[in-house]
């Protein structure tokens, strides 16, 4: 099966039912299919063919989803880029990914991107109604499940974007598993919060479409203004939400679930970073009817581990990342690549159908290592459950002592009132940032660290903020934190 074929079933059963809802306008499965067909024809008209690539720099809309489906159907690989990024970033990514055509809704983009053909993502004329009838898979040797489907970007350590190339099979292995795990069905309404260049959106789009559900596209400003999120949840009676802990924390902070709001939510899935036990438990109390999931995995493997919570987390315990997902095989290994004893900390190695094809870099394609070393560390409990223990690049040396930054963050996250924590090295010193309750006492936090951590791992300085700064994908803005740390030291 190929990515665009996820709508084949709903196209029969739910033909005139809403597929995508955006800015108050609803598009049915039949209309979406029609637009996808028109997008495919347009891509072919501009001269693209199977094996080519197209960039997409556009805010979320039904047309963007149609363009993804149309590209997949034509065997064209699409690369959604961060609309908040700058023209030099786009130019770099497009050059490295060997892309010369871009679909966009940004006025004047063509002037900012030399040597790139920019096309309006929205088609001027309504697609021909008969086009829908042509929406049948075209058999082609070049469009096999292991063919390229899309490219997501991760920020390389050098600041140059790295392309993560994923196949149809990669995406569908995740989509099928996730839709099954969360029991997605035609009665569900998903709120698409994550931007399309972020892999959480693969669940929203293809998980939702494959099961005939409704996908509500949240306004791009919704993660900044919790009022917009809760309004969308209430208005559309959203049942499934897949997002980062920060977004859920902002909703909690704004008391968005007061007076019975949000009770339509039956599945809450978070990914991307650890969720402190206290706000997670608070959220579970606010939404007692919802089942909570923690999905885990880097963009390179999509979700490789997952945990379904059976109750609020015990603040005294680590938060589990669960067991293997999407048919993945998980191994924990030491620096020598040997499997560690059960209970010991090791790097997570993943093999399975979701492991990417490889990286697209400035100097060409680099096939993925199998099994794929994630750079993330975990420990396996006696019952087989995995527990996250930080990232490889979080192992630092402070005055000669090796410190696991994850363990410092973990110690802080388990203190009452702390909802976010980030630790890193500035100069020769370990610095930690915390966010949570207004009156966090940093001296008290320091004392707790002294008690629970080895001496080298106690932060020299702890700074309290109301929220930690984030990038557009919801991940911590480490660069900004480091600047703040330097300014405040």
């Amino acid at each position: 099966m190929l990515l665009h074929e996820v709508i084949s079933g709903p196209l029969v059963d739910r033909r005139n039912k809403p597929a995508v809802i955006s800015e108050g306008v609803s598009i049915s499965y039949a209309e979406l299919s029609q637009r996808a067909c028109a997008q495919m024809t347009r891509l072919q008209d501009i001269g693209l063919t199977t094996g080519d690539r197209i960039g997409v720099i556009a805010r979320k809309s039904p047309d963007v989803i149609a363009a993804f489906l149309g590209a997949a159907r034509a065997g064209i690989t699409y690369a959604p880029l961060d609309t908040e990024a700058s023209p030099p970033y786009w130019a770099m990514a497009l050059e490295d990914f060997k892309i010369s055509h871009v679909l966009s809704d940004i006025p004047g983009l063509a002037d900012k991107l030399d040597s790139i053909c920019v096309h309006d993502v929205t088609l001027e004329t309504e697609p021909d109604a008969r086009a829908i009838e042509q929406y049948v898979p075209i058999p082609s040797a070049n469009r096999m499940p292991h063919g390229d489907a899309y490219i997501l970007t991760t920020s390389g350590s050098t600041g140059r974007p790295k392309g993560v190339l994923l196949s149809h099979r990669n995406a569908l292995a995740f989509v099928d598993w996730a839709a099954h795990e969360t029991a997605l069905g035609p009665n569900d309404t998903l709120l698409s919060v994550a931007p399309f260049h972020f892999d959480l959106s693969v669940f929203d789009i293809y998980g939702g479409l494959s099961r005939g559900a409704r996908i509500v596209l949240a306004p791009s400003t919704a993660t900044t203004f919790p009022g917009q999120l809760i309004e969308a949840i209430e208005l559309h009676r959203v049942t499934v939400l897949y997002t980062v802990p920060t977004v859920l924390r902002i909703l909690l902070e704004a008391d968005a679930f007061a007076h019975g709001a949000g009770q339509s939510l039956r599945s809450i899935i978070y990914a991307g970073e650890p969720f402190a036990p206290q706000p997670l438990a608070q959220l579970m109390r606010a939404l007692p009817n919802a089942t909570f999931f923690n999905f885990f995995g880097p963009t390179e493997t999509n979700v490789c581990l997952a945990h379904r919570f059976t109750g609020p987390p015990d603040p005294a315990q680590e938060i589990p990342i669960g067991g293997p997902a999407c048919g993945a095989t998980i191994k924990l290994v030491n620096d020598a690549g040997e499997e560690v004893a059960k209970g010991d900390i090791g790097q997570i190695l993943v093999d399975g159908p979701t492991v990417m094809k490889g990286y697209l870099k400035a100097d060409g394609f680099v096939r993925a290592q199998r099994p794929y070393p994630t750079g993330d560390f975990a420990r396996q409990g006696a019952d087989g459950t995995y527990y996250f223990r930080g990232r490889r690049d979080q192992q630092v040396k402070v005055r000669g002592a090796r410190v696991e930054l994850g363990s410092v963050e973990n110690a802080l996250l388990h203190v009452d009132g702390v909802k976010e924590a980030a630790a890193f090295v500035v100069g020769n010193d370990l610095v930690a940032f915390v966010a949570g309750d207004l009156a966090l006492d940093t001296q008290m936090l320091g004392n707790i660290c002294t008690k629970s951590l080895p001496p080298g791992a106690v932060p020299r300085k702890i700074v309290a903020l109301s929220l930690l700064p984030r990038l557009s994908n919801g991940k911590l803005d480490l660069a900004q934190l480091k600047t703040m740390a330097t300014e405040r030291s």
């Binding site: 809760i230 007061a258 709001a261």
Partner: protein, 82 residues
Amino acid sequence: MSDEKQVKMKILEFVRSLNSANQSVEVDTDLIATGSLDSLSVMELVAFLTDEFKIEIAAADIIPINLRSVATLTAFVQARFS
């Protein structure tokens, strides 16, 4: 504290203090279009308004139309006094 001018000045001062790039913010500057507000500063701003003016702000009110500029913020706060 219900003097409109005073409210406006306090909000303007706070918004300017949110980050160094906000120095040039004026009463009618579009805080959203200029990217002066992100999720971090929105929640800081809400906490400031709640504390400073002793008003309650529901989640449903934390929307762009209320937070677009210092002028709309002032009107929003004023409406909660009366």
